[in-house]
Structure formats: structure tokens, C-alpha cells
């Protein structure tokens, strides 16, 4: 099987120019983690495919969903959103979206949902035969209301049950009643899993899995934090690619090992003075889900202006906080309720301001993503507030995470050029 589904690491691609200038840099500039990540993900998808049709249970789960109870119950989690990103990166998305559109799914709906529904029906996928068929579905609406609707469609397509974990949205502060509600649902989820596996749920095992999750979330945070270093040892494009394990395999020992190695590698790069972007001049922050089919182009475009995207609001969403409590279900309730997309705009602004400061950011690159309303609506107000409070300018790129039909190369290029000129003038004025 060929799992060359994830695009080549932009950090590596970006090094091309640098390598040409100094051939000795060549080996040092490759992010070794990306290769290991490919192997890890290949093993994971092969394992999941092999389990199809056996006694082993497979669950499809949303990217912000609580995977820990599944892992504790020996259920294989499969992530349609990760698959959606693969469809985008391998440029299969549009064809499969069109299949869903043919059935009446509006072109205005989430392109992960459209692409995955198209793939489920046609079995077309970078994974031969498509994702392994689920025994049940687990949707957590902490990232959007769309996942519930999408999974309802999947539930009808595969004729399997859907468990919805309902995490009330946080406006300004957490309401204690909502955490009680979420905790009760974790009890319900455990009973639901027991009915699926016909085995008593092992709560000690859950504690252990949570410890792994907490550890890998912390390591992931440390990995991302290394980009506060100037120059940054990797860009958010590398983070987008290497986030796959924290999304899909958190809770397992493999993931902690992977991020421990990745952290060491980045520390080594810092000590050797290797940067993601040669002669880094500008430090930028990315907002929203990546534009999966344009990762390399965008990485090169920014790189050509010596601009490095050093942080983003997306990958840090998997830095779960709250796992570390005595009661595992309390920890799960907290961690999965307080996720970035489940909070109001004022709290998002707080986070953006914090990232801007910590990563010494010169400008914001805001992807206005037609597929993702909870991520995109409010961006204009965030943009204005950040400018007012810190003077940090930003650019809005109108696009879609996997539907390339709404992307315009020329428009993006012109806008980025103008933005970089603004940043250059700003720098000159300050000098």
C-alpha cells in the first residue's frame, strides 16, 4: 500500500534554496520528524484497514472528540477530518465533493464533510478502498455544529449508531452546570461503549490513557513553543503536517515518543542555528485550518519574503488543558469543553493576543475559510481588535481548506505581496 498521502514537508522544500547556496546544509535542513510521522501514520492506517471486518471495533470520531475512552476500550479511532485533509492535500477533494453535491449536498457546506461523504460512497481515497467502515460514530460538537449534521448523514449511509457528545458553548466563562452535563455524558458514553464492546469498561486503563494524552499534549505544546525562538526552527506548515499524531493517536505511548524526538530535533536545530526560513526577517501568525492543497505554494511564497509563519491558532487547539485532575471524567469534561472553537470571540482574541506577544509576531495571516463558519465568522472583529490593541497588521485570504475551486492563485499572490510591503515599510519606519 502506498500511503504517500501527506505532502512533502515544506520545511524541507523551503530549504532547497538554502541548500543550493550551501550544499553542506542539506542533511541538517530536513525535518526528520516528518518522515517518522509518515511511517507512524502509515502503520496507523494499515492497522485500521486490517481491523476492518474483524472483531475489533472501529469508531469514526471528530477531530476534537474525546478519543481516550475509545483507546481505553481497545476501539480503533478513525478521523474523517484527517482524511478530509488528506483528500485536500492529494487534490482528490473536488472530485469527491462533486459526488456529494450530485446528491444534493450544497456546495456551501463544509468541504471535509462533502469530500468524506463522496469518498464513503465511492470508496475513492488516497487510502486504497477508503477509510475502514465504522461500527459506530462519535461526534463532539465542541468544534462546530456541522459535525453533528455530517455524522447524522454518515449514520444513515453506514446504518450505524451515532453518539453525540454535547459540549455547551462557552460565552465569556465556563458555566459549572455545563461541565456537570458533559461529565454525565461521559458516563453515558462509557455505558454506550460497554454495549458496543460487550465488555466492562476499564477505568484504570482510562486513567493511564489520559496520562499519555496529557503528556503528549504537553510535549506538543513544548514543540510549538520552540518556535518562539528567533529564528524559528520550523514553520506552522511543518506543524500542520506533524500534528497528525496528536490528532489521531493521542493517548498512546507511540505519540509521546514521537513528540519527544521531534522536540529534541527542534532543540538541536536551534543549537545549530538552522531556521525554517533562511534569514528569517518577518514572523507571522496563521489563523484557521490550513489550505491543504496550497501548503507548499504558500510556504514558498512567504519564504520568498523571508517570512516565517511561527505560530497558528489551529495546531495549538490540541494542547488540551485540564486532563491533569484526580477524576478522569472531570478532566475529560474540562479539556474537551474549553477547546478553541468552543469559546466566544473575546476569548479567541485573548488567545491571539497572547500568541502574538509570545511568538513576537509581526503580522497575522487570516484564512477566511468558507468551509468553517465557527472558525471564520468573527475574524474581521478579531483582526480589528488586534490592530487596535497592538498595532499588528493582518491580511485576510478568502479560500477554503480543501475545495480548491474557490482559490485564486493570482489574488492570493497580489494580496500577500502588498501585505509584505506593508510589513517592510513598518519595519523601516521603526528602524
Amino acid at each position: 500500500m502506498n500511503f504517500g498521502l501527506i505532502p512533502a514537508s515544506p520545511a524541507r522544500e523551503n530549504k532547497m534554496a538554502q541548500e543550493l547556496r550551501d550544499p553542506k546544509e542539506k542533511d541538517k535542513n530536513r525535518l526528520r520528524a516528518s518522515q517518522k510521522m509518515k511511517e507512524l501514520m502509515t502503520r496507523y492506517y494499515m492497522g485500521a484497514k486490517t481491523a476492518e471486518g474483524t472483531d475489533k471495533k472501529i469508531a469514526w470520531i471528530t477531530s476534537g472528540g474525546p478519543v481516550e475512552p475509545l483507546i481505553a476500550a481497545d476501539i480503533i479511532p478513525v478521523y474523517p477530518e484527517n482524511h478530509g485533509a488528506m483528500l485536500g492535500a492529494s487534490r482528490m477533494s473536488v472530485e469527491l465533493c462533486e459526488v456529494a453535491e450530485g446528491l444534493g449536498y450544497s456546495r456551501d457546506l463544509c468541504s471535509y464533510a462533502r469530500g468524506d461523504i463522496g469518498s464513503a460512497l465511492t470508496k475513492k481515497s488516497p487510502i486504497p478502498g477508503g477509510l475502514p467502515k465504522p461500527d459506530f460514530l462519535l461526534a463532539c460538537n465542541n468544534i462546530c455544529g456541522t459535525v453533528m449534521k455530517w455524522y447524522q448523514s454518515l449514520s444513515r449511509i453506514f446504518n450505524v449508531p451515532l453518539f453525540l457528545l454535547d459540549t455547551p458553548f462557552i460565552h465569556h466563562h465556563v458555566v459549572p452546570e455545563s461541565l456537570i452535563y458533559v461529565r454525565q455524558q461521559f458516563e453515558e458514553l462509557i455505558s454506550f461503549l460497554e454495549s458496543i464492546t460487550r465488555k466492562k469498561f476499564d477505568r484504570d486503563r482510562l486513567t493511564e490513557v489520559l496520562r499519555n494524552s496529557g503528556e503528549s499534549a504537553l510535549l506538543w505544546k513544548e514543540v510549538l513553543d520552540l518556535c518562539t525562538h528567533r529564528p524559528s526552527p520550523m514553520s506552522c506548515f511543518d506543524a500542520f503536517i506533524n500534528m497528525a499524531p496528536i490528532v489521531t493517536l493521542r493517548g498512546t505511548k507511540e505519540v509521546t515518543g514521537f513528540y519527544r524526538d521531534m522536540k529534541a530535533e527542534l532543540q538541536e536545530r536551534i543549537s545549530l542555528g538552522i531556521s525554517a526560513v533562511p534569514q528569517e526577517r518577518f514572523r507571522l501568525l496563521w489563523d484557521n485550518i490550513p489550505i491543504w492543497y496550497k501548503m507548499r505554494d504558500l510556504s514558498e511564497l512567504f519564504s520568498s519574503f523571508r517570512a516565517c509563519l511561527v505560530a497558528d491558532t489551529y495546531t495549538s487547539a490540541w494542547v488540551f488543558e485540564g486532563f491533569e485532575t484526580l477524576d478522569p471524567l472531570d478532566g475529560l469534561s474540562r479539556a474537551y469543553t474549553k477547546i478553541y472553537l468552543n469559546i466566544s470571540i473575546d476569548l479567541m482574541i485573548e488567545k491571539v493576543l497572547n500568541l502574538t506577544k509570545r511568538f513576537s509576531v509581526d503580522g497575522l495571516v487570516i484564512h477566511s475559510n468558507r468551509s468553517c463558519k465557527p472558525y471564520s465568522l468573527g475574524q474581521y472583529d478579531i483582526q480589528r481588535t488586534v490592530l487596535e490593541k497592538t498595532g499588528t497588521p493582518s491580511i485576510v485570504l478568502e479560500a477554503d481548506m480543501t475545495d480548491s475551486r474557490v482559490y485564486s492563485d493570482a489574488q492570493v499572490k497580489t494580496r500577500v505581496e502588498a501585505f509584505m510591503e506593508t510589513l517592510e515599510n513598518r519595519k523601516a519606519a521603526r528602524a
Binding site: 455544529g145 449534521k149 452546570e177 455524558q185
Partner: protein, 380 residues
């Protein structure tokens, strides 16, 4: 003949209000000196707002141009979200003293924050209703959230809202809902006897008028109506499915195409008034249970109810010949349900037509052409 003329006369008043809700509301405010709370979505417990001494008013807006709101919202948000914010930013909602945002969809949820920050009405409340409706834990949370809402309103007005205050409002709303269900009954029993545009005016006014006043008008109207008459045999029986529609021009199209509206499954329709409240027991629990029993909406999760089954029951009972899906473009929850509902209708050999309401003005010409063609196919 005299009876029809009286019907026209009584309807006239309500149609006048329907044409200009803000004139009515400003006048009501001057007259009573009371405050007005706007709200989104039929899941808002209007009874609670009324019990706090406010007039609950559904925010519906359909503007032809969007300019100020474009600084805050992307073009891919629905017409309700864009138009409402535009109206707010233009000061057209100045009669409001506050707004209630129940949790419905991703767009409304984000609109709430943008609204609070940029319009700054004295009162703002996010009613974070559960999405699940079928479990005990969801019901408990819903009850807690309704209590929290009562607490928030009480804090704003400076005195508690008792169970008796709350129960005291129920009859007003139950009475109003019974009149609106009667409109529905007329639509399905005597197709074409009330025009689509007229029935829309009756329902639209219920969404913003003071209930006592609306009830009095409706009572007057029904005393004049008596029993309907036999339908025109040639009118094609249409049923509307979708979210919100406050544009009378769309209803006017149904009339001008010679079709009869025999029922609907809309937020500005059946889902608003189908379910009543009991007059006994704990009032907060009663409000919670009403929301749980309410006609399923695509934003809510209840695996025990199939929305298509419920819809087909009513569609068939009304002798429907064709369905018109009237969806807001960029409305995700309804767009996700559309392929399934359409498939189920096709299995029952019920033809359907999809019309999308885009933000910033209706393409009425194109809509009319498509609707006319659809109605003509059905009348063959």
C-alpha cells in the same frame, strides 16, 4: 360576499402591521412605556421574557443591501445573520432594549458575540440550550440553563421572577398558538381559502406583536371567518419546508402562480406554534419539556425522532402535491438535511423544488419562473 369583505377588513389591520413591524414596535413602546427584548430562534422561551415585563420580539430581517455588516461578516453567512446585523448597525432596531441568543447554529453563535460587541444593547443573553434533547442529563441541563436565564433577567430588572409570574403568561401564548394552529387548519382543510400572503401576515405579526393585542385581532378574525369554503379545484397544493422566511413577496409568488399553501414546516410557521405548555406543574420544567416535545429542528439532536417521518405524516395529511424547500443559502443545518428529506419524498413520489434565499435581495424573477414551471408540472 359581505363576509369576505369583513374578512378583508379585519385582515387589513394585521397586514398593515406586518408591512412595518418597527412602526408598530416604536408606537407600542411609546404607548406602554415598557421595554422590548429581541430574540432569535423559536427555541427561545418567550414566556420568560414576558414574565420579566418585556415584550418578546422575534428578530427577522431581509434587507436588499448589505454594507455595514460586511465589515463584520463574511459573504458566506446567511441572509438572516447578515440582514439582522445590518439592521442593527443602521440603528433600525433602536426600539430594542436587549437581545437573547439561544444556541442554534454556528453562525448565530458567532453573531451573538459580534452583536454584543458592536450594538451594545443594555441587555444581552446567551441561552446555551443543549443540542441533545432525548436524554435525562440534557433535560436536567436544559432546566438549569432556563433557571440561569430567569436569574439573568431578574438581575436586570432588579427583582425576582416568581413561578406565579411565569405561569401567568402561559395562557397568553397558548391562546396565540391555538389561533395560529387554526390558520394552519384552514390552510390544509380549505386550500386556497386564505391566500399564502394573508396567512403569512397572520403568522408574521404573531412574531412581534404584543400577544394580548394579537390575540384580540385573531379572535375578531375567526369570529368573522366561520367555516371555510370548498377549495378551488384547480389550485395546486404546495407545502413549504425550511427555516425562516419573513418575505411576503415569496408568499405572493405562490398566490400569483395559482397554487395553494396547505402547510409548512418552518421556524416562522408550524415549528413556532405547534406545541403548547401545560398550565400546571413547575413552570421551568414545563418550558423545558415543551422544547423537548417541539417539532424537531435540524439544529437539535434526537435520534428517537426521524424528521422525515414527522414531515411526511403532515405532508400526506394535507394532501400535498408538491414541496417547496425554501432554504437560506449558507444555512448549514437545513442544507445537511435536504438530501435525505428529498430522497424520502422521492420515495413517496412527492415532487419537490428547492428555492434558496440569498443574502442581499431576492431574485424574484428567477424564483417566479421556477415556481411557475413547478406548479404547471404538478397541475397536469
Amino acid at each position: 360576499m359581505g363576509r369576505i369583505m369583513e374578512k378583508q377588513k379585519a385582515l387589513g389591520a394585521l397586514k398593515g402591521y406586518a408591512a412595518d413591524p418597527s412602526a408598530y414596535l416604536k408606537n407600542w413602546k411609546d404607548k406602554t412605556g415598557k421595554k422590548i427584548l429581541g430574540y432569535f430562534c423559536t427555541n427561545t422561551p418567550e414566556e420568560m421574557i414576558q414574565a420579566a415585563g418585556f415584550l418578546p420580539v422575534r428578530i427577522l430581517s431581509s434587507r436588499d443591501t448589505i454594507s455595514l455588516a460586511a465589515r463584520h461578516l463574511q459573504s458566506y453567512s446567511c441572509s438572516l445573520v447578515q440582514s439582522s446585523l445590518e439592521s442593527g448597525l443602521r440603528g433600525e432596531l433602536s426600539y430594542l432594549d436587549g437581545t437573547v441568543f439561544p444556541h442554534t447554529c454556528d453562525s448565530i453563535q458567532r453573531l451573538s458575540d459580534i452583536w454584543a460587541e458592536n450594538l451594545r444593547f443594555p441587555f444581552h443573553w446567551d441561552l446555551v440550550l443543549p443540542v441533545k434533547l432525548h436524554t435525562e442529563s440534557a433535560r436536567n441541563y436544559l432546566i438549569q440553563e432556563l433557571r440561569r436565564f430567569r436569574g439573568g433577567l431578574a438581575e436586570y430588572i432588579g427583582h425576582p421572577i416568581s413561578d406565579a409570574d411565569l405561569c401567568g403568561t402561559f395562557h397568553l401564548f397558548n391562546e396565540n398558538r391555538s389561533y395560529l394552529r387554526e390558520v394552519s387548519r384552514y390552510q390544509s382543510s380549505y386550500p386556497g381559502w386564505i391566500s399564502a400572503a394573508d396567512s403569512h401576515a397572520l403568522i408574521k405579526t404573531a412574531n412581534f406583536m404584543a400577544k394580548d393585542e394579537h390575540n384580540a385581532r385573531m379572535k375578531q378574525l375567526f369570529s368573522q371567518w366561520g367555516n371555510g369554503q370548498a377549495p378551488s379545484p384547480r389550485s395546486v397544493r404546495l407545502f413549504l419546508v425550511g427555516s425562516v422566511c419573513d418575505q411576503s413577496s415569496i408568499y405572493g409568488l405562490i398566490d400569483s402562480c395559482g397554487a395553494a399553501l396547505v402547510g409548512d414546516d418552518l421556524c416562522t410557521g408550524w415549528r413556532y406554534f405547534a406545541e403548547d405548555l401545560p398550565n400546571e406543574g413547575d413552570p421551568i420544567e414545563a418550558l423545558a419539556d415543551r422544547l423537548i416535545r417541539k417539532v424537531p429542528c435540524p439544529c437539535k439532536f434526537n435520534p428517537e425522532i426521524d424528521r422525515a417521518d414527522r414531515l411526511l405524516e403532515r405532508v400526506n395529511a394535507a394532501g400535498t402535491q408538491g414541496i417547496v424547500f425554501l432554504l437560506l443559502k449558507f444555512c448549514d443545518p437545513h442544507a445537511f438535511d435536504y438530501p435525505y428529506l428529498k430522497e424520502r419524498l422521492s420515495k413517496e413520489k412527492i415532487p419537490s423544488l428547492l428555492l434558496e434565499i440569498e443574502p442581499g435581495g431576492l431574485p424574484l424573477g428567477a424564483m417566479e419562473t421556477r415556481l411557475r414551471a413547478f406548479v404547471e408540472t404538478l397541475s397536469r
